[in-house]
Symmetry: C2
Subunit: 324 residues, 2 copies
């Protein structure tokens, strides 16, 4: 007999596997149990799945879940229930993960990619709640190694025709901007992601040997050690070069958000990911660039994510609860 109240949430991250169990009454606040394990660099799909099932068994401790929710770090076909591929781990191509998990756990299973799952998690349990009620529409954006996003419209994930909606990282903000990993120029991600922010700081430090004193000191002169986090710290300490690079990155993101708001007029935008910890200067620049790029009268409500790294996992719980 499955426990009617036990929900199993699985997060297949790029570098980490997490399984957790929750119950509806404490969902969004407290895990019944939660186990995480790093995915080693050489891991393939078979290894990941073996490890994940062991984690899940440990988390379930002999109980049967009422439903299973899955966040997957790569494109999935939510309708056909296939994992299309993983960006980090080989061997996931066209895996019928949903059917595998349903048969393994004897419970219905629902899955989506990590950005959509995180969007749903924040909507249901996190920053998508206003006075204990969920907003009608939101865009969730993670600003981290990449810049990706997910839409919740009318209480449901909007994935689009190929489940690829939300790719705000690859909207263009500057036709003369840097080359992006996608092959085009001046995408939001090419300026605003953590690694690209660091790269741009590095390039400026090399081009301007007199500038960026604080940032240089922070990395003891080793430009390879420049990270987005250190750029943010240097900017906070008054380093003008760091400040300029940080503001450019924030403005590129804000511009992209403004475009998304102009097109979809969401009630709220939620930002998560490591780069969002860059401080008030970064947030001010994001919000002001977004405001400058929308029509008068449109809501521009841009707030930090509330669930941190657990957003996709809570999203998996929400998927399990609603079959969204």
């Amino acid at each position: 007999m499955p426990s009617e109240r036990l929900l199993l949430a699985l997060d297949y991250g790029g570098t980490k596997l997490t399984a957790a169990a929750a119950t509806p009454d404490t969902a969004g606040r407290e895990w019944r149990v939660r186990r995480s394990i790093p995915s080693p660099p050489g891991a393939d799909a078979r290894y990941d799945q073996f490890t994940m099932l062991a984690l899940a068994d440990e988390v379930l401790a002999g109980d049967r879940p009422a439903a299973v929710g899955v966040s997957f770090g790569g494109p999935v076909n939510a309708a056909a229930s296939l994992v299309l591929l993983s960006h980090h781990v080989r061997g996931w191509e066209n895996t019928p993960l949903r059917a595998q998990l349903q048969s393994r756990f004897g419970a219905p299973c629902f899955m989506d990619n990590d950005a959509n799952a995180a969007a749903l998690g924040e909507w249901r349990f996190g920053a998508g709640q206003v006075e204990a009620r969920p907003v009608a529409s939101l865009l969730y954006v993670t600003v981290s190694t990449g810049v990706g996003g997910g839409w919740i419209l009318d209480g449901r994930i909007h994935g689009g025709a190929e489940g690829m909606a939300g790719e705000i990282g690859h909207t263009m903000v500057d036709p003369a901007g840097p080359l992006c990993i996608c092959g085009r120029r001046g995408c939001v991600e090419s300026i605003a992601s953590g690694p690209n922010l660091a790269r741009r700081a590095r390039e400026r430090l090399m081009a301007e040997p007199e500038a960026g004193r604080v940032l240089r000191e922070l990395v003891s002169g080793n430009l390879e050690a420049v990270t987005a986090e250190r750029v943010a710290r240097a900017a906070e300490a008054g380093d003008e070069l760091a400040e300029a690079v940080l503001t450019e990155a924030a403005r590129a993101l804000g511009h992209g958000l403004g475009t998304a708001i102009t097109l979809m007029n969401p009630q709220r935008v939620i930002l998560g990911g490591g780069v969002t910890k860059a401080g008030e200067r970064w947030w001010r620049a994001v919000r002001s660039a977004a405001r400058a790029n929308v029509l008068p009268g449109m809501t521009v409500d841009i707030v930090p994510a509330a669930l941190g790294d657990d957003a996709p996992l809570w999203g998996a719980v929400a998927l399990a609860m609603t079959g969204n």
Copy 2:
């Protein structure tokens, strides 16, 4: 007794008022009766409403409708059922049009702005149908005096927080582009709308006295007579200046559509409005610019509208049928 099968559709256009009656079995194909009258330049809201009610009475011929659907040429608050203002006719500010019409006709009334209504009309009765089934998600864009749009997602209009979703005309494609009516630079509308396309041709004709021979002949040397339609005709006849301006306009629109596709991954994009009659050259440039501005694997399906000027009116019928 209201006729269960009679639907009243009202289109408050900027320059024209239209009332029509339809029945569900022939909706999308045939009007039972349809009456249109131009709105004179000096008209105010009171005049328009008086005229519209007279048209509606004529169309109903004594029958009572089962429901009323309204397309309004200006922002409406669909939730609170208010017309916020008309872009063309004074006196419409904060009019409770829905309540007025419900009380006048003794039937439920549903309304939205013209872009959303047209999107719904095309989705339900026009180019949104694929093998007699509606697509799951679409963006409808009208390219005319302005460039505006509407989203149908999951079979419903997505209006957003202020009902302003779909403003693709005011997404930026060129930070160094022309000044837009919205105060910013390089919006899609500032390059791609009919009047702006004509203006840009005029500017090039003035700047390059030797160029644009065919276009000059078409307007007998009177640059004020340059219109988007004439630019398209000159381009068709091999006029290089006209061709360049037309292609620029098409590429600006295509770029904006690519951004919208990147963000929302709709199954289909439908283009209506006068400028879409500019010929195959224009359509090719729109599609190729859109394709160049999306991620690999995303559907780029851009097709002409099927309902012509009646799209908002058929959308009003769809509103009346579904209460969407």
